[in-house]
Symmetry: none
Subunit: 249 residues, 2 copies
DNA sequence: TTTTTATTTGCTGTTTTTTGCAATTAATAA
DNA sequence: TTATTAATTGCAAAAAACAGCAAATAAAAA
């Protein structure tokens, strides 16, 4: 077997599976591990792949960096935010929760749209300050360092005194049967209060999160008015939600 | 499984759910918790996520660092903030107002300093979230678009229910005889409430602002406990304040 | 062709990296 | 507080990387 042929095999393997183990490819091509190691070293030097301990990964795989593309699954989140936006009428009073999807919604609010917007998320509030016709009210309270939202009794009390048209909320985990769950107890308490403070709660969630669950329950699916994902409402991934008392958008 | 694959999976999980438990990932990937811990440590060092006790949180969720490129008279403001910092003792309860000087104070709080800090400024709150030992409480209310602080009746009411050791405040204009004045009526009302909510009000102001005044009065000089400027306390520019009931720092 | 030279490959022993385990210490929750 | 859970540290086994060497192969020159 020629060296060149060997290297081509390695490359196609990496392209196909995004990764390869040196031992696997050595066995497959029936050459010593050292030979493969030397091949991979060359390919790395030629910037055809990236050599890592025990194998090699494709360049696209290696360059994955949330720092550059700050928001995970941005395209999906934008699509969701766009759908959510259509629900909001002029002079509505809404509430926007924390999380990147909700932040995206805040970003997409057009300059001409005039609404009153409550929020307990610091980044969302920052975003809303740029919207000329949005009156922003921040629900105060103790700030959670991780999630950058107000939590705690004071927040919950403040929420108990309002009733908005729509609350756009995110969730850590969602499942058709188990409902919305979170990892953090304080956040669950706050989200419960948010849902109570709204006539209709709209859940924004990328489809990847569907069918996942965690420790603490925020609410059942039936307490949510509408579920917005990036998928078509009749997509098969949403089948589990069809029997539930929830709209899909 | 390659280390890179594992770390990639961890990142996706974190991006997806904002926050994850190390134990969950260890179980999912079927490796020891130590391995995951080491991976997360590396990813943290690479600024791909932030490690927290028991888990990890995504950066998009926990990061905010506005470049302070365009701050007028930054050097003076830093000097002022440094002096102010010396007043703060461990476990004090303080309030930090809005404005760039106060923001500078928030920035300079050391990571080891453990205090409780109220604020009504969005940028200050953002900054305080980066301080591990600062418990931050945001005073909610209607947000002012220009000053990025909470204003209005709700803010004033919330302030009426607290009493902090020190309130560090800024002002638009200050004069030894006319006291503190502002251009904006809403802000004056809020600042009044801030001063009332504190045992001692500390005014942070660059010397350039001394001997200026405007439309609406916040309070007289005697209601302020200490005036901090970038100047020496006995500097001649501060002469007009020597006869007043106010400390100079 | 044969000889010489350069390259490639596999092997050996050593060093480094990775991983899991256990004991101690630190942090958090009840 | 105490109980529980997580983090840290040191250690050892396993796997992988590395360096040097020699045999095998390919290429070039005589």
């Amino acid at each position: 077997m020629l060296k060149e042929e060997r290297q081509r095999t390695i490359l196609s393997e990496v392209e196909l599976h995004n990764r390869v183990l040196l031992t696997d490819i050595a066995e497959k091509l029936d050459v010593s591990i050292d030979t493969i190691r030397r091949d991979v070293k060359e390919l790395d030097a030629d910037n055809k792949l990236r050599k890592v301990h025990g194998g090699a990964v494709s360049l696209g795989f290696a360059n994955y960096s949330p720092a550059r593309n700050n928001v995970y699954a941005l395209a999906q989140k934008t699509a969701i935010a766009q759908k959510a936006l259509n629900l909001i009428g002029d002079n509505n009073v809404i509430l926007i929760d924390g999380g990147t999807t909700c932040l995206e919604l805040a970003r997409l609010i057009p300059a001409e749209q005039s609404i009153t917007c409550f929020t307990l998320s610091l980044p969302v509030a920052m975003e809303l300050l740029n919207k000329p016709k949005v009156e922003t009210i921040f629900i105060g309270g103790v700030l959670s360092k991780d999630s950058q939202i107000s939590i705690g009794p004071n927040t919950i009390h403040n929420l108990s005194e309002i009733k908005v048209d729509y609350a756009f909320i995110g969730t850590g985990y969602v499942d058709a049967n188990f409902g919305l769950t979170e990892f953090d107890w304080d956040i669950v308490q706050t989200k419960k209060a948010v849902i109570k403070a709204s006539k209709k709660a709209i859940l924004l969630s990328i489809s990847e999160k569907l069918h996942s669950q965690h420790r603490y329950k925020t609410c059942g699916i039936n307490e949510i008015d509408t579920l917005i994902t990036e998928l078509e409402p009749n997509h098969q991934l949403l089948n589990a939600f069809k029997d539930q008392d929830i709209k899909r958008l």
